[in-house]
């Protein structure tokens, strides 16, 4: 187990190194990145000063070492806008709002999606199964930002039930979580359904039935426990897609998270902040996948020895 964790950890570090190199390479691809930081009001002196301040008069390998060592100390440059706050600090301030949205979405989707998946597997081919499958397919077919806008129009503009945007109060979570959950929920329904169908046909379930266990225990305890493994494997991907959705939904509901920050950075051509968002989100992705893999190896010993 320790060897496996060690090996995965090394892999994660290598991946992180590659991601940071890609981000670095992208930022240098335009030739002189100072051009990205200058505005139409900048003077020639600004250009020289920025070039020296950011170390762009040095060679590329030297620049990379400076970039990497700064990044390791949490220094990802400064925003070019406003009071030129450190990029890392800006991302750190906005991060909790996004994390709350993503985590609540995944929990809500899991709690609704998994039972729906179990029910459709047990009642395979029934009307309920068909209806839930269509519902799930629709959730995977509509863009989250559109669901958000329609939900906003119906529930807050027409019915005045919920606030249309903002962050802080519990009722302000409802619309963004609803918009994001449909897609994520659909993924949980489909995954649970397909792995439950496999489980229900397996030998140990037949044995459990022969032993005379109640159908309730057979389905919800024995079959479900084994069906959750494949669901867990995909949870990294599901969380990744949820984070992608969060970026879009935040711009719809004026949610003060890192997605909205990235959007503002694009509009303001604030490259250092955008770069910081990408690096931090990519690091989170890698960490989540690492945790999922370790958790998976812990639950299923076959993984460790392959």
């Amino acid at each position: 187990m320790q060897r496996y964790i060690f090996r995965r950890l090394i892999q994660a570090v290598i991946m992180l190194f590659i991601v940071s190199t890609v981000v670095f390479a992208l930022s240098r691809m335009t030739g002189n990145p100072v051009a990205l930081l200058l505005t139409e009001y900048s003077t020639e002196e600004d250009k020289v000063r920025l070039t020296q301040e950011l170390g762009f008069d040095k060679s590329i390998p030297e620049q990379y070492i400076i970039f990497a060592s700064n990044a390791l100390r949490g220094d990802l440059g400064r925003s070019i806008r406003g009071e030129r706050a450190p990029a890392f600090q800006l991302v750190a301030e906005r991060f909790p709002a996004s994390a709350q949205l993503a985590v609540i979405t995944v929990i809500v989707s899991f709690l609704i999606g998994v039972p729906l998946g179990v029910i459709t597997a047990v009642k395979k081919g029934s009307l309920v199964d068909t209806l839930v499958r269509i519902f799930a397919l629709a959730g995977q077919s509509a863009p989250v930002f559109w669901i958000g806008i329609v939900a906003m129009y119906v529930l807050s503009v027409q019915l005045r039930l919920l606030p249309s945007s903002g962050y802080g109060k519990p009722e302000q979570f409802v619309l963004p979580v609803f918009s994001l959950s449909w897609f994520t929920l659909a993924a949980f329904v489909r995954l649970t359904r397909s792995s439950m169908i496999d489980s229900l046909e397996s030998e140990y379930i037949k044995l459990a039935r022969i032993k005379g266990l109640s159908e309730w225990i057979v389905v919800w305890k024995h079959a479900l426990r084994n069906s959750l493994l494949p669901v867990l494997t995909y949870s990294g991907i599901i969380l990744g897609r949820t984070i992608a959705g969060v970026v879009v939904v935040e711009t719809v509901f004026a949610w003060p998270g890192i997605g909205r920050l990235a959007y503002e950075s694009v509009l303001g051509r604030d490259f250092p902040v955008l770069q910081a968002v990408v690096l931090i989100v990519a690091t989170m992705f890698l960490l989540i996948n690492l945790l999922v893999d370790i958790l998976y190896a812990y639950i299923d010993p076959r993984i460790r020895y392959s």
Partner: protein, 281 residues
Amino acid sequence: MRLGLADTITSIVGLTIILILVLMAIFAQQIAPYDPTAGSLLDRLKPPFWQEGGSTAHLLGTDVLGRDTLSRLIFGARTSLAVAVIAILVAGTIGSTLGIIAGYLGGWADIIIMRAADLAFSFPTILLAMVLAVIFGASFANIILVIALVLWAEYARMARGESLKIKSMDYVALARVAGVSKTKIMARHILPNISSSLIVLATLQVGVVIILESSLSFLGVGMPPPTPDWGAMISEGRSYVVTAWWLSLVPGVAILLTVLSFNLLGDALTEWMNPSSHRDA
């Protein structure tokens, strides 16, 4: 393998909608009543014909620049399908080639290619698109690049898995003994046998690409204006959601129907080719 009744019906419905869309995209010039980029400020924000104040001159109304919504919707089909087809062709070709190489050759090629695929899976797509848009400016080529960078990995994984299965079959061993080159074995013996799985994957990915592309346009890092684009139309209509809700609603319905049709078709194909397999998320 025969399909169930429900699957047959849904796949026919899906196929019909796809056919209509493709025709719409090809003959957009002939079908669309107006030029999709020409506005008329006198006809700004006209409602659709069934709403009060609407007329049959603009069946689905007009946007804030007075451009005909129906015409933009029809030309939008062209944008969406063009991006989807080209991005999938690029990603599919690169991904399948690398996947077959990884599966058949194994060793270092396998390790490097599959780690690269992991990397593609763990890179936040939408953020990457934003970075490229800031550096190079929004363009058609950028969108294809971003989408292909993410999608190739799925083809690589599938092609690798399938190649591994076929690699150990007798006819491949025979070809090897007969002195057929590695390249030829991969191209002539392995590729044709995994192509059906790759086609199903491609069908299922059309929806993914269309949603991704519309999200990019919604965020302003997709197709540059004034290209008619469904995602951009939703984004433009967002500011008028209180007074002109149909501006955002209509293109969203178009995306929903298109993606749903491709997903229905993809699901039916999966079921038809391999009834024992259940599609994952």
